[in-house]
Amino acid sequence: MAYTKPKFKEQYENFIGGEWIPPASAEYFDNISPVDGEVLTRIPRSNEADVDAAVAAGVLAFESFKNTSIVERSTLLNKIADAIEANLEQLAIAETLDNGKAIRETLAADVPLVVDHFRYFASVIRAETGTVADLDGDTVSQEVYEPLGVVAQIIPWNFPLLMAAWKIAPAIAAGNCVVLKPASATPMAILIMMEEIQAVLPKGVINIINGAGGKIGKHLATHPDIKKVGFTGETTTGQLIMQYATENIIPSTLELGGKSPNIFMESIMDKDDEFFDKAIEGLVLFAFNSGEVCTCPSRALIQESIYEPFMARVLERVKAISQENPLDPATKMGAQASKNQKEKILEYIKIGKEEGAECLIGGAEYKNETFPNGNYIQPTIFKGHNKMRIFQEEIFGPVLAVTTFKDEAEALEIANDTIYGLGSGVWSRDAHQLHNFSRKIQAGRVWVNCYHLYPSHASFGGYKKSGIGRETHMMMLNSYRHTKNILTSYNKNALGFF
């Protein structure tokens, strides 16, 4: 049974200093659902004045929030997690309608991972300590941590709630205040989440401003009261954020995408057992989240000795991907996040065909009879070679590029022949091969005999042009705080220099 579409508020506001504030321009834009092409609600079109107000609210809140104890902040994070968990289904439905992804994903992955992320950071800050060193008999060095201040976070439209959690949780766990700008295509579920958590949240600790990137993005990233910028998106804006960060000499972390290789060694077919079944699913995960994932396993490298029988089994599994209604828990793949994104994916399908790649399945939009105005693409597999554009550029859709390799050396050469280095997958029954091969891949995450798992406790980030910095894992705390060294002498005698 499909979930029914709820009635949302006709209009949302910016969330600044704990209040819902209309935009200075008094202008709004329609938030359109990619599921059916209908307007969901209206969202503020903010300008520089709204950014200034949000940053000022953060600065004011930081004066007291920086002094909160670890216990208070941990308790706050747990309360946020509880409030989100209590509204899990409501948020999952909102996320599906806002982004287009299938409801079974938002119910089982997106929202539970959001909850867990806040709980993870609530836990680790309780367990963590700084360090103390006795440098000599009477000199003691202490390394202590202090928050940066107000940080700006600009997030993407593929996992709106989860990317908000990935950015917000470590920032406030470390004692910072946040100004977050959701992607303008997918702000609604985040605003609903803020309604759910606002009762437990001190005023001004999290501020949300809405609108297109343009001027407000620049104004936020160059604001003298912003002490760090975290960004997820494409490469040129990433470079621009780094350039802006030089103006105030502040750090920035960037997550800019990938073209992740998923490598299948011949030993996976030694038996037709549950592990082989898992490997088939591992390849078909290119269709997870409608392919709109930075780590989408969008290049499958298959050892040539098993290519034919393996691909035959894969194609059966791809044929079974049901699409029609994203709000139906039986639906396996939802809509693309926007009309523009759908057209971009169709453009890449055209490029693949023009470049001479062989289309094994799909290769067109999906005609959705229930929602003819939604944005749907058939899961698509192309066979070709690694120099083709469909093997080198991030399509951000359910389009897989497949090629074969003879041996490990060739597999490695193809895997690393990309300007990106975010995700990767290695599948084999040979333990030595798994270890040695994983170490040679140039990517921040290697999934070994699995794919698309995102535990809070494992670091995530890119090599090469996939970006700078890490997300998730407690190491993330250090990118949201200063380290202060307190060096104390217990020696009463002068140095003797003067």
């Binding site: 343009g214 001027k215 490469t235 040129t236 804006t237 995408g257 009309k339």
Partner: protein, 125 residues
């Protein structure tokens, strides 16, 4: 035979001319990667420091158009066609200047024919 590596649709050129009136000289840089990647980013000249090793693909309405040097390797055999969409198709999440005016530039492509590519290779070397 049209060997230009980047061209612009009539509709997009109208928007570029409109933007030039408000923002002055503009520069384009083809983006890549996640989300709104594969789109051309348009900035006021001087606002974006064009990486010194980026490759200039051509000019649109007298504005220079660049691409990352590594990315260029995979675009050598493509002609980029810059087009424009209205914001109801989707908001870009980038800082590109047309976004605030309710538009988004996009990059379409045409793969050069073998004959065209041979000609281009001569001029590349």
């Amino acid at each position: 035979m049209d060997l230009r590596r980047v061209i612009v649709t009539e509709e997009a050129s109208k928007i570029i001319e409109m933007l030039k009136k408000e923002h002055g000289d503009l520069v384009f840089n083809q983006s890549g990667g996640c989300c709104d990647g594969t789109a051309p980013m348009c900035y006021e000249k001087g606002d974006f420091y064009v990486p010194s090793r980026n490759v200039k693909l051509g000019e649109l309405c007298d504005c220079e158009f660049f691409i990352d040097k590594d990315q260029f390797e995979y675009f050598r055999h493509s002609q980029i066609i810059v087009d424009v969409k209205k914001e109801d198709a989707a908001f870009g999440n980038s800082f590109s200047v047309e976004i605030d005016h309710g538009y988004q530039f996009i990059s379409k492509s045409r793969i050069f024919t073998d004959e065209e590519y041979l000609e281009l290779k001569k001029s590349d070397s």
